[in-house]
Amino acid sequence: MPKPVKLMETLIHDVVIIGAGMAGLRAAIAAANLSNKVDVAVISKVYPVRSHSVCAQGGSAAMLREGDSNDLHAWDTIKGSDFLADQDVVEYFVKQAPQEIIALDHWGCPWSRTKDGKINQRPFGGHSFPRACFAADMTGFYEMHTLDGKAKTYDNIKFFDEWFATSLIIDDGFVAGLTALELKTGRMMIFRAKAIIMATGGYARIYEFTTFSHTATGDGMTMAYRAGVPLKDMEFIQFHPTGMVPSGILITGGARGEGGYLINAKGERFMKHYAPEKMELAPRDIVSRAETTEIEEGRGFNGPYGPYIALDLRHLGEEKINERLPLIRDVAIKLSGVDPVREPIPIKPAAHYSMGGIHANIKTETPISGFYTAGECACLNVHGANRLGTNSTSDCLVFGTVAGEEAAKFSLSHDYRDVSIGNVLSEEKRIFDEILGSEGDEKVPVIRDELRRIMSEKAWVFRKGNGLESALKAVQELKKRYKNIRVEDKDSQFNTDLVGALQLDFTLDLSEITISAALARTESRGAHTRLDYPKRDDENWLKHSLAYWSKEGPELRYIPVTIAKWPPSARTY
């Protein structure tokens, strides 16, 4: 048994998973299923079904039918990644995806069906076969509720809902535990664990116009970074082509998969100029650049919230829209006042996904022993410089499973590590004295909005060296200002003001890393487009960036890409 730490109450579990979204829940099931001797805890700042994964709409990619093949899925993924994906990881990913779809079917996921009762699949951007398994346009929602139901059948999984993890505790290259706040009471606790899985999702809330839930702030990435784990390929942020105006709410790529058109103000299906073969079903980076170009060159529609592009579904007809896209119809009517059966939906590119994340290998192992990661917060690297639609939910399922099993195995063969009191004390000081106790004159929402403005102006679809340089300075300035904040709410119980401050703190680091990595990468690849370096440069840049924490800010190093069957070639659609 581990030695007790006196200062705070300590909870002890073999495997602790931070985050109860799709990867976290899948990992919990896999860990608990591996052995009932493994005692699993899942910590999440929201109730599991409130996680951002429920917003995933379009589908989950998997090779299920004749005519498709693992190699074809792998090739589509690698080409989509602009050859930055690690090909061994991609091959494993596509091989494992089908059984995850079937597992969800066995647990009750209401997959949409073909006439003969098989799991239906729809076409999706960048995929050369209709392989997106879907449950109408609420795939993530259904997958999450299915996983939540399954996870709760295990007696060896304990849920800590509405607990906010704040830092990892490391002992000599091994993970030892973490600190977390119980939101309901405001007390801080130590969790000791033999293995920890980080599954806290992405951080696109660093932008103004995003498809992301308000709670998706990349906390776990920063926790890992501060604990000494590098963040990989953080310059690559995906911009989804169809964020609904004005909220940014996602309109699934499935809308184009079902046959929707993108139209400019001239009434033209402009994708013919950018991807004549794939048209609207080109990968997201290409479509988002095309839309941005159309808007910047004056061919967008004018609306009260600025220029936009039209997503026209009218020709699909009411019946198909109701059957295949019921959620987006409802959301468009309720929140944008537009019925897609009768009018096109106003859309434009929205920050949507982080290809980068916590550096880990094919087994989801990070450089710290016992510390694993899966889902959007991880970078293994399946998606390279641009992820294909419907590959992220499959990624969460496949590598959530891997992480759960690996962490469980690790916990069975290792003991608890020591938790240093110094670590815990300094974290207590950071949260309660330096953040909650700070009596400065800066406001959290002001800095948060300023950060979002900077990122949206200077680290968006098109980037320039001088813009990124000024963004970096501005973000570093915000980090200084943050030290002088004042959290208005000083109470302990359910202090959402404090949570907002902690999240902002995490996103400031992530923004700094994103800008630094983007500034360093003097080429254009996938979702990272440098107007001053418009071409892909395999000679110098066919490599992953790793950002390490240092006192002076992120320190960049590089590692090679794993190329197996598919050498880089020109990427046209």
């Binding site: 951002h52 066995h106 009750g108 069906r113 139901g149 059948t153 709410i249 929140l335 119980q493």
Partner: protein
């Protein structure tokens, strides 16, 4: 602030857990088209008061975090546009039925824990699950449970559910999820799933609040009835329910009284009766409670008195009248319901009248909403609708005054299910010197008395878990002397609660007909 903005007052009910203090904060929020309630709450938090506590996440109606009460109705803050509420003053409160943590944040753990009592995953034999093969399910089979699968677990239904004050009850969403799996062609766990329900599903009163307020239009209320039907079919029902059903089979009423005695209450009254009479302007369907239950008989007698005073040409069905079947259908016994309906319809067909009035909202509801009654094209009305018409035409004169503070309790089957909210209020307000007050929960958001769907006969909850007790406490807090209502079951259950709370010297419960008799 933009010139097009409209200023809306947000009056927020706050709670400081540290000081255990309830207080109000009011903020003026500039609102424009497209702004949701959630946007407004975030605007307040960012610009006026960082201490305001509320939950939110997806802002697109799918994560279920942001349920709050707005002007008395529960809704998702992110899925409601402020201007669509057509009000420049919005009272925002936390959801009900769950412990308060802070401001608009309630502890939803009791709701989440109800899912532990069901299997929220397919039940299949282990061998089937070992095969790495997809199951076959046709689009038609999928459609059978699809609508129920839309539940986002926001807890809004639970927050308005009168049965959920008893923690034994699974709550509407959990019952609906259970039925979602029962209806899933892949599932093989029917008996296990029904077993989960057998000691608690009878607590549901069919008040329909869950269905009415569900942001995803999940019809939990109906799925509970469907589950009961399966339980009746398989015989897995408690004795209390069985007794009610057997009484109806034998005596055509749930009280187990002899059919010949159905009109005994009226034997000395000047009333016309079928089959002696086959034509009248108004045919009155009395219903089982007013016919047999001594307390409710007073209501029926009041009706005769009021109608006679107004010289209305009315008649009763006599001992040919049988239970309308509303409670029976909602207890899950469709076959028996259909037999009752067939008989009553045959009598309706022999009688000629302009309208058929009911005393009981339950009879009204089944006549208007359920097959085969609703296919007859007959003019069914509740007596309050009829008398409100008379009032409007100046035909209802009420010379005597009632100098009391009176609140109206909306019966669910009159209000929520048939949207008759104003007629009873108009009648009460027309009585001289009567001080009319609204209970905090009224109209659509009225809180059920707990008597619906047969629960009036099957009640075995401890007094503190009875909805009626909570409702009477609400009236007591409002300083009410009389709870007026328009349903014999509401009268009985609320009066029981008054006795349980030992408030007989403070509060009386009356049907509107009884008050009308007093005022005539």
């Amino acid at each position: 602030m933009n010139s097009e903005d409209e200023i809306v007052d947000f009056e927020i009910h706050r709670f400081n857990p540290q000081k255990k203090e309830h207080y109000l904060s009011t903020y003026k929020v500039p609102v424009r088209k497209g702004m949701t309630l959630l946007n407004a709450l975030m605007y307040i938090k960012d610009n006026f008061d960082g201490t305001l506590g509320f939950r939110h996440s997806c802002r697109m109606g799918i994560c279920g975090s942001c349920g709050v009460m707005v002007n008395g109705k529960p809704m998702l803050a992110c899925y409601t546009q402020v201007l669509h509420l057509n009000s420049n003053r919005l009272v925002i409160e936390p959801l009900q039925n769950m412990p308060l943590i802070k401001d608009l944040i309630v502890d939803i753990q009791p709701f989440i824990d109800t899912y532990k009592k069901i299997r929220n995953v397919l039940i299949k034999p282990e061998e089937t699950l070992k095969k790495l093969e997809e199951f076959i399910q046709t689009p038609l089979e999928l459609k059978k449970y699809w609508d129920l699968s839309l539940c986002i677990k926001c807890s809004i239904c639970y927050s308005v559910c009168p049965a959920a004050i008893d923690e034994k009850f699974l709550g509407p969403a959990t019952c609906a999820t259970n039925y979602r799996f029962i209806s899933d062609s892949r599932d093989e766990g029917l008996s296990e799933r029904l077993k989960t329900l057998d000691d608690n599903i009878w607590l549901c009163t069919s008040c329909n609040s869950c269905t009415l307020f569900c942001p995803k239009e999940v019809d939990s209320s109906s799925s509970i009835i469907d589950e009961r039907s399966l339980m009746v079919e398989t015989g897995g029902i408690p004795k209390t329910v069985k007794d009610v059903l057997e009484s109806v089979v034998k005596y055509h009423n749930p009280m187990g009284m002899h059919p010949r005695k159905r009109m005994e209450w009226a034997k000395d009254l000047p009333v016309k009766m079928f089959p002696n009479v086959t034509k009248a302007e108004v045919l009155c369907f009395i219903g089982c409670a007013p016919a047999y239950d001594p307390r409710s008989q007073a209501i029926a007698k009041s009706m005769v008195s009021v109608f006679s005073n107004l010289s209305i040409d009315f008649a009763l069905l006599g001992s040919e009248e049988r239970c309308s079947g509303d409670h029976i259908l909602r207890l899950g016994e469709r076959g028996l319901f259909e037999m009752l309906a067939e008989h009553n319809i045959s009598i309706f067909k022999e009688f000629e009248s302009e309208r058929i009035l009911t005393i009981c909202p339950h009879c009204l509801n089944t006549f208007k909403k359920d097959k085969p009654y609703n296919t007859l094209g007959l003019n069914f009305q509740h007596y309050t609708e009829f008398l409100a018409e008379k009032l409007k035409n100046g035909e209802l004169s009420l010379p005597k005054s009632i100098n009391k503070k009176v609140a109206y309790h909306d019966p669910c089957f009159l209000g929520k299910r048939n949207e008759i909210y104003e007629a009873p209020r108009q009648i009460l307000k027309s009585i001289n010197k009567l001080e009319f007050v609204e209970l905090k929960r009224n109209r659509e958001n009225s809180f059920c008395c707990g008597g619906g769907a047969g629960r009036t006969w099957t009640e075995d909850a401890a007094p503190e878990n009875r909805p009626s007790v909570e409702r009477v406490k609400e009236a007591l807090n409002a300083g009410v002397e009389v709870i007026a209502t328009a349903c014999p079951f509401c009268v009985t259950t609320l009066e029981d609660a008054v006795k349980v709370l030992d408030l007989e010297d403070k509060i009386t419960v009356k049907d509107i007909l009884e008050l009308l008799m007093e005022a005539t």
